[in-house]
Amino acid sequence: MDIMFVVEDSITGLMTGGVYALIAVGIVLVFRATKVFNFAHGAVLMIGAYFYYTITGMLDVAGLGTWAIYVLGLPLTMIVAALFGAVIERVLMRPMIGQHPFPMIMVTIGLISVLEGVAAIAWTTNAKYPPALVGLSIDFVGGMAINRQMLASFLIAGAVFVIITILFLKSKAGVAIRATASDQSTAYAMGINVPRVFMTTWMVAAATAALAGILLAPLNSLTPSLSQVGLSVIAVVILGGLDSVIGALLAAFIVGWLEAMANHFLGGDFKEIVPYAVVLAIILIRPYGLLGTRDVERV
């Protein structure tokens, strides 16, 4: 019977991992293109969740049914969030193109304070309860509990992740991103509009973050503190390798599963620390994460 419980918790952990992957992909894309590690990704996610709250609130006022949440609410939120990402890129990141990444990373750290403050003023710090895409209900499949809300989040996150990966590999914009990632000046020379590449990655990152926020917020209440989830995802990104989209997916499942197992065997206080300890151990063996690219440095 005990093994059943482990399996049950493993499934929960892997489903959490799906949402982690959706969050991590935004950090990875921005890092690949711009070499900036975006510490503010969690804050962008939080703002995205508030956009969703406001937009669904307006749809409700307009008297549209629940269908509007899916047909209008979701895409509108992602579009608004993408525009928001574009603004951040244009105003804060663009002036710093070509500089050492360190100050740019510090800008993202400053951005966390700004966005949390803006959310507290615009929406107040009172807990908000945006509508869930799928109601909270649990089915028992072969004696194991499956949370429908989490399953739906997992499927949506997975679908979006697949779409992004395909676009990244096949589309023209994706090729431009990869070209910029491998060599910025050559990409410029080959006629690739590098600033536009930067903006595209920020837009995609913000839109996926907003989607992750939509999936996460109904599991809890929505407050500016939601931005903290960004921290748990740092372990994912590093484990996968900073610049690997597939690595992020793999690492997301590993971290989600590890959290569930730590909670199962060691207790809730170990839930957050175990993934970090494991990540530290793994990058000692593989210094560029599971699938990250090795830097080739010429002296």
Binding site: M106, E116, G117, I234, P287, G289
Partner: protein, 347 residues
């Protein structure tokens, strides 16, 4: 002349105080710091002590991050190690501060070396995140090793004594902490006149090239971690004797981030950088509180907006510095003196 890097002798190249304004400025600062506790209110003294402790911690980070190029997000936890080591040793041994403090510093340096070991294999942002993981792990240990650290119920220690007098008031603590901090900063300034310091800079600029010209990477990277952590330990020890009560939550990731922000705002790889940075992160939030309190007296209707507005202003200041002056306050300082010096000509 304060501009112009014209040096006629090796002695002038190695001088600690490079020019007369630096020399007199330093003397003026010392006098001001010596007089301060006689005139200022307890809170001002408390703030200056805070600035001194942060300066020591950030100076350690500067050695690691600014000079050696190893960006650390685990510095706050190391300060915690120093603070807790101080409290635990003091309670166990009942020894005076001048015994406990070196022990705590040595212990923190050892812990720092342990967490510096990955730096031999991991580089760049991966190393940064490894130190971030170390930060979580250290805090976790402090929180859960309750037999020694008393976990999150917090630990207390007896005040330091000097000439048979317990250092309890702010002015008394000031007399112990600020001189130690000044010595620590001078030591760091001196470090970069030595072989070790030059090796650090070579590693930062390009570790492979440094290795080729004969810098022992393993050794010097570990020395950098050791010295940087020793500074964190010293800052932690001062912290413990200043607060006399410690909680694990004080040393969480937020503190490491504050240190890093302070270093960059103050000026990376400059001796003055950590001082400016510490002043910035300690005084600016107080200034903003004062400013907002001044603009809008406390009232139920606007309460919800002033505190977040404060956070926003702080974040914007950091962003503004990064965009408009990534070299930090120390660069503005230099430019200001150059301007004064060349006036009325444009620099």
């Amino acid at each position: 002349m304060i501009i112009g890097d014209y040096k006629a002798s090796y002695a002038s190249d190695e001088a600690v105080f490079r020019s007369w304004p630096v020399r007199y400025g330093f003397a003026a600062l010392l006098i001001a710091l010596a007089v301060l506790p006689f005139g200022a209110s307890g809170f001002i003294i408390f703030l200056v002590i805070q600035v001194a402790i942060y300066t020591v911690a950030i100076t350690g980070l500067n050695i690691l991050t600014g000079y050696t190029g190893l960006i650390s997000l685990g510095h706050g936890a190391l300060v915690g190690v120093g603070a807790y080591a101080t409290a635990v040793f003091a309670n166990w041994l009942g020894a005076p501060w001048w015994v406990v403090m070196p022990m705590a510093v040595a212990f923190t340096a050892a812990v720092g070396l342990l967490f510096g070991l990955p730096s031999l294999r991991i580089r760049g942002l991966y190393l940064t995140i490894a130190t971030l993981a170390a930060n979580f792990i250290i805090i976790f240990i402090i929180e859960h090793w309750t037999d020694v650290t008393r976990g999150d119920s917090g630990i207390t220690l007896a005040p330091a004594t000097l000439f048979g007098m317990a250092l309890e008031s702010d002015a008394q603590k000031y007399a112990l902490i600020v001189p130690i901090a000044i010595l620590a900063v001078l030591f760091a300034q001196n470090l970069f006149r030595t072989r070790v310091g030059r090796a650090f800079i070579a590693i930062r600029d390009s570790d492979y090239s440094a290795e080729i010209i004969g810098v022992d990477l393993t050794r010097y990277k570990l020395i950098a971690f050791g010295i940087g952590s020793a500074y964190a330990g010293l800052a932690g020890s001062l912290w413990a004797y200043n607060f006399l009560a410690l909680l694990p939550t004080q040393f969480e990731l937020q503190l490491s981030i504050v240190f890093l922000a302070a270093l960059v705002v103050g000026g990376n790889a400059r001796t003055l950088g950590p001082i400016f940075g510490a002043v910035f992160v300690i005084l600016i939030p107080e200034f903003l509180k004062w400013l907002f309190g001044f603009l809008t007296p406390i009232s139920p209707t606007i309460l919800e907006y002033t505190a977040p507005a404060n956070t926003i202003a702080y974040g914007l200041l950091i962003i503004g510095f990064m965009i408009f002056e990534p070299m930090g306050l120390a660069a503005i300082w230099t430019r200001f003196w150059r301007y004064i010096n060349l006036w009325p000509f444009s620099p």
